[in-house]
Symmetry: C2
Subunit: 387 residues, 2 copies
DNA sequence: TTGAAAGCGATACCAA
DNA sequence: TTGGTATCGCTTTCAA
């Protein structure tokens, strides 16, 4: 088996050209090309002859030659950090699925949160003649990043995904993103309507690199505003690095999931003992929600009977974790379609709205719960206002 | 913002060629090319001049032209079903990471378990001049699949990942895979050594499409063979389709994770009541393990105190789920390296061995556990044999 | 309808 | 060392 590659027996010329096809079909090179491109100005007879020749010989056209000559690639570049990250993986599939319905194909590159790799990938996209680029940015500031200007120079439309706060992007770049504020608002209102009066917000520790925090908090406040007596407990999480571990943190800081679980467990203990009366929590993503549920269960709490959990997230991600979550969900397909429309139809993207999906992790507050033993109010459930 | 694309103001020629560079650097086209390719036969002065010209103009070479002329692409194709699947996502990152350490780049395509898309992707790889292809196959039989023969015809080395049983592949194709049997053996021995005497094996329902079943069962039997009195309870799982839901099943059959969770819960109830004495289970993958743990907890069992769970899986996947699992782990990087060596160095791949990593989901059997109330043996823990 | 020829943007050979 | 030129495989225009 191995020898096959080393010896390469003299079968036939490995690379066939359209010349060979024309020769075999006994026609001119140009005619063969026309058949290949589905041109109407070839006779059916000729077409059949050429097609047969191609089939017989196992002819495969050379994309590089075609692209070079035609100036078109029908390829869209997608640049994201990792694939083995619930969020990005889900988006990747959605982008692929959406693009597959068009004439285009996706060229996926991963920057692994390494700036240099982002630069290289962008350049690669330009070199390869992408007709559009979807970028999940590695940086928050593109002030002196030369390569991103190449997209402008070479007239390659680009959508940058992610929350607000990324600055110094070229003017020609579109921005697409999720409406995080509305997501938080939905969740807070949902929990409040179930009778929860003290809701914990587990947010990543604020840092200059952390994007979207502002939107999230604003949304939560909006949600609270329409309910009397509901309070938010904002808890900033730090775990190893100064944030909720992302795939990046796991790699960079060598944090293990066990460390993170322990951290969440401690956090749970703390906010259930100190901040009395918390009966529900909203997490920043699904992973943290699952961790939280595990921690709660280890602490003797039942979910959702004693404590409700909800989170922001993408639809179709529930098959990953260990517990069906109540979520404010953003449709990955909507996000993908939005980005694609921007690239292909030059439509300015709008914020993708969330929708609330209630699953097993949230339930009406229970007054005998261990979470709030000292607040035996009995009017919570009916005090709530309408959305 | 939108207008920028539509109007394309007459700045400069969008696409610069090496001709333009040569003109600006006041030299011959050939010299500029040599600088681009780091050839040593250009004077430092000339090199500097050309480099500056390129920099100033924002020149980006055309990959298609280079590939066409040089006949090389330094690209490797990776074809897999989905990205948003714990297993494949993890492998994708590993492949990317491994390839990035070479001169090559990865071209990722997804077939979504659609045979047609597999065919198109393979053809796309041939058209694009991939120098190697890693294939996570869509089919189990390649008898009449023409496109896979193109890889042979065009001398593109190919590694097919996956368990044995895939047939009618060209002789020139390498096969790479994990040593599933040894993984099962490790897990069974581990659980047996903890004193478990009745171990459930949660396997996908046998079907012609299900690969690797044989290896798994064989391995488990090997593990049992070295322990006296240990028994396996093989449980074939069916959920909607006739198998453990994969990403494919979720899409095809519209199974929701809640359905699956309910299914696993029922299964748990059944095998804990009927097959008395089961105190541990081995699942087919992490997702099922997490589901099982959730079901057990809902049934009032503590994990691992009352019941141990272990599974086969890839390393570095623990950050997904809600519970740290004891696993027979295969290193994604090893798998990737193995495949890469096959493509680049033409080394026949060998089975990638697993290693046992004990985490929170397994523990010594506890005799007061609800799982086996009627078998009060007290010599289990010391009866075990050496590995 | 068909065929001949120019040219896409690079590489690489060979003469200067 | 440098410069000119043929060539890679295809698309496309234009003349026959």
């Amino acid at each position: 088996m191995r020898e096959m590659f080393l010896m390469t027996p003299a079968l036939e010329k490995p690379r066939l050209s359209i010349r060979d096809v024309a020769k075999r079909a006994n026609c001119a090179l140009g005619s063969a090309s026309k058949v290949l491109n589905g041109s109407l100005e070839v006779s059916p007879a000729m077409k059949k002859r050429v097609l047969k020749a191609m089939e017989d010989m196992g002819y495969v056209p050379n994309r590089h030659a075609r692209n070079l000559k035609s100036g078109r690639t029908y390829r869209l570049g997608l640049l994201m950090p990792f694939a083995s990250d619930l969020y990005y993986a889900t988006l990747l599939d959605a982008f692929n699925e959406t693009v597959m319905e068009t004439n285009y194909r996706l060229d996926v590159q991963l920057h692994r949160w390494i700036e240099k790799e982002e630069d290289v990938a962008i350049r690669y996209f330009v070199e390869s003649g992408m007709e559009g680029v979807i970028l999940h940015p590695c940086r928050t500031n593109y002030e002196n990043v030369a390569n991103i200007r190449l997209l402008e120079q070479y007239r390659i439309p680009c959508v940058v995904m992610g929350p607000q706060g990324i600055c110094n992007l070229p003017d020609t770049v579109f921005r697409g993103m999720q409406d995080l504020a509305s997501g938080m608002e939905l969740l807070v209102k949902h929990l409040a309507s179930l009778g929860h009066r003290k809701i914990a917000l587990l947010l990543p520790a604020s840092s200059s690199k952390q994007l979207g925090m502002h939107e999230r908090l604003d949304g939560a406040k909006r949600g609270v505003a329409s309910y009397q007596g509901v309070k938010l407990e904002v808890i900033y999480m730090r775990a190893g690095s100064d944030n909720v571990p992302s795939q990046k943190d796991f790699k960079t800081y060598g944090i293990s999931i066990t460390d993170y679980q322990d951290y969440v467990s401690k956090l749970v203990k703390k906010f259930l003992s100190q901040k009395k009366g918390v009966t529900a929590a909203i997490t920043v993503n699904e992973i943290t929600a699952w961790m939280l549920i595990t921690a709660l269960k280890e602490g003797g709490f039942r979910v959702p009977e004693d404590f409700s959990v909800a989170t922001l997230g993408l639809s179709n991600t529930e098959h990953f974790g260990g517990f069906p979550l109540t979520m404010a969900e953003y449709s990955p397909m909507d996000i993908a379609q939005c980005a694609l429309d921007a690239l292909l139809k030059k439509i300015e993207p709008t914020l993708v709205p969330p929708s609330l999906v209630v699953r097993r992790s949230s339930a009406p507050v229970c007054f005998s719960s261990p979470g709030q033993p000292e607040e035996p109010q009995n009017n919570n459930k009916h005090e709530r206002q309408q959305t």
